[in-house]
Amino acid sequence: MSAPAPPGLLADAAADGGLGARRAATSRTRWGRALRRATRNTLVGLGLLGALLVVGLALFANALAPHAPDEQNFDLIESRPSAAAVFGTDRFGRDVLSRVIHGARISLYVAITSIAASMAVGGALGLTAGYLGGTIDNAINRVLDVFFSIPGLLLAVGIAALRGPGVNSAVLAIAIVYTPIFARVMRGPVLAERAKDYVEAVRALGATRLAVALKHILPNVISPFVVQGTVALSQAILIEASLSYLGLSAQPPTPSWGNMLNEGRTYLETAPWISVFPGLAIMLTVLAFNLIGDGLRDVLDPSS
């Protein structure tokens, strides 16, 4: 029996996860070949480079940005890219470059905290459900089903309304959307792993359930889980942008990329640089994470 399919949410990661669990293991790729292919693959290298760049921007935003992100300059309103402002300025005369740099912070913050939280909670739930099985499995699944059965964006709308829109509402929304996904990505392989003989053997030797789960089962199922995480990171950045568009995430004047993109959308004709640069930042970051995800998949998840 195959693991139940994760119903799709707004996350494309769900698709890959379900696929990973469902696909017949017909692939004949071997570790060594995959490793060579991955290192050979300049695309993965580029992805790593891009991700490092973004992380660097986020870490050293204060040092790198020529201006404070909310510093207004009324002598330089909506001015096109020039020596004074390399990416131009927006309607408040704020430096777009500085805002893009600081935006890396917010976008990464949203992506990393939300995905880390959902991986931790979802992973733990999935491991528990899969390993213990029975009533507990059932109970966990029913609760997760409830969150699973509402389209993710609608859930996000509700959360933003509940808490008031803002960066942390977006984090919470994305985390809640991804938690059941990660729980399922974890549960399926755990079920398969638990059925193996060695688990029985280790238990017979007197290992506690917790020890078996953490020391023996987890290491064997973690790879596809991590690959999922990388891809989910890239999705989280896009979701944050969509939430910004619907007015549910970071609020002006917070310089999140999604927010800048949305604010600048109305200036596309007269001052395209306001939104083009944050748009590029989103694209490149998402691309970088996707490339890394592809590379990791080759290395870590030999089944696909």
């Binding site: 029996m1 195959s2 139940p4 399919a5 994760p6 119903p7 799709g8 949410l9 707004l10 996350a11 494309d12 769900a14 698709a15 890959d16 379900g18 696929l19 469902r22 696909r23 017949a24 017909t26 692939s27 004949r28 699944n141 029913r142 609760v143 089903d145 409830v146 059965s149 509402i150 389209p151 993710g152 964006l153 609608l154 709308v157 509700g158 309304a161 509940l162 008031g164 890239s234 896009l238 942008a241 969509s242 568009y245 619907l246 999604g258 993109l261 949305n262 959308r265 596309l268 004709e269 939104s275 748009g279 989103i282 694209m283 490149l284 998402v286 691309l287 996707n290 490339l291 696909s304």
Partner: protein
Amino acid sequence: MGRYLLVRLYSMAVTLLGLTVLTFLMLRLIPGTVVEQMIGADAIVSEAMVAQLKAFFGLDQPWYVQYGRWMGSLLQGDLGTSWRTGKPVVQLIAERLPVTLELTAFAVAVAIMLGVVAGVVSSVRRDRAVDNITRVGALLGLSVPVFWQGTMLILFLSIYLRWMPPVVWVDFFADPLRNLTIMLLPALCLGTASAANIARTTRACMLDVLGSEYIRTAAAKGLRPRLVVLKHALRNAMIPIVTVVGLQIGILLGGTVVVEEVFTLPGVGRLVLWSIYQRDYPLTQSTILFVAVMFMTVNLAVDLLYAYLDPRIRY
């Protein structure tokens, strides 16, 4: 199979019950009610006025009474009446559901056509220029926010071609051609990311299959390459592709809100959004419930289809 279906239906019912509680409580926890909005910013507020309005909407009752009333009417098949528009919720859903379904269907069509073709071509021309372009294109397709894509499309078309999709909505049955012109861009935008996903899966599966013994044998026997690819390889790569397509349907259904908003389509997603802002409880809670049922049904159907396609799977 029958037993499996029963179990699934049972757990669906449990989930739905949980969902009603969740939705109901969440809505009540959201600050602000319809009452303050009815009174507005310009009125001199009096206790009596607030009490009168609260009583009118039944908001003066404890939450379990309100919940009980809602459940009671649900059990009688009544989704309730929208507070703001005064129309039955079921009528509002009926007006808008076809739009969302049509949008999803077209997006799925776009995704399948683009995705499968690109994936097959890419796998057959592995590591050639076409393959690389397709792969990078697929990655880019995954990297652009949908609303951004939509805005750009509308802007460029309206400025350079003096054209945009008609803004006044027309039902498919009233005027199919006009309806299709309205749907074209939204479906394209919505379908892009899914197309990219499908293309990637198709490529990977095709590569697997093309590398297998029997395909090489078929080729060695001198069958025409096109026939080999289409008849033998694609058919065998179909199962995972269908799976991913099925999953995309769910994703697309959930992702319509943004596209509906960008292109001003009168779909269910925007209805829910609006109702939440208006604190129109009956409309929000019953619509979300409805969407959830739809969502779960799609997922169930995908699972059943999967079992049907892959005889190795038995539930």
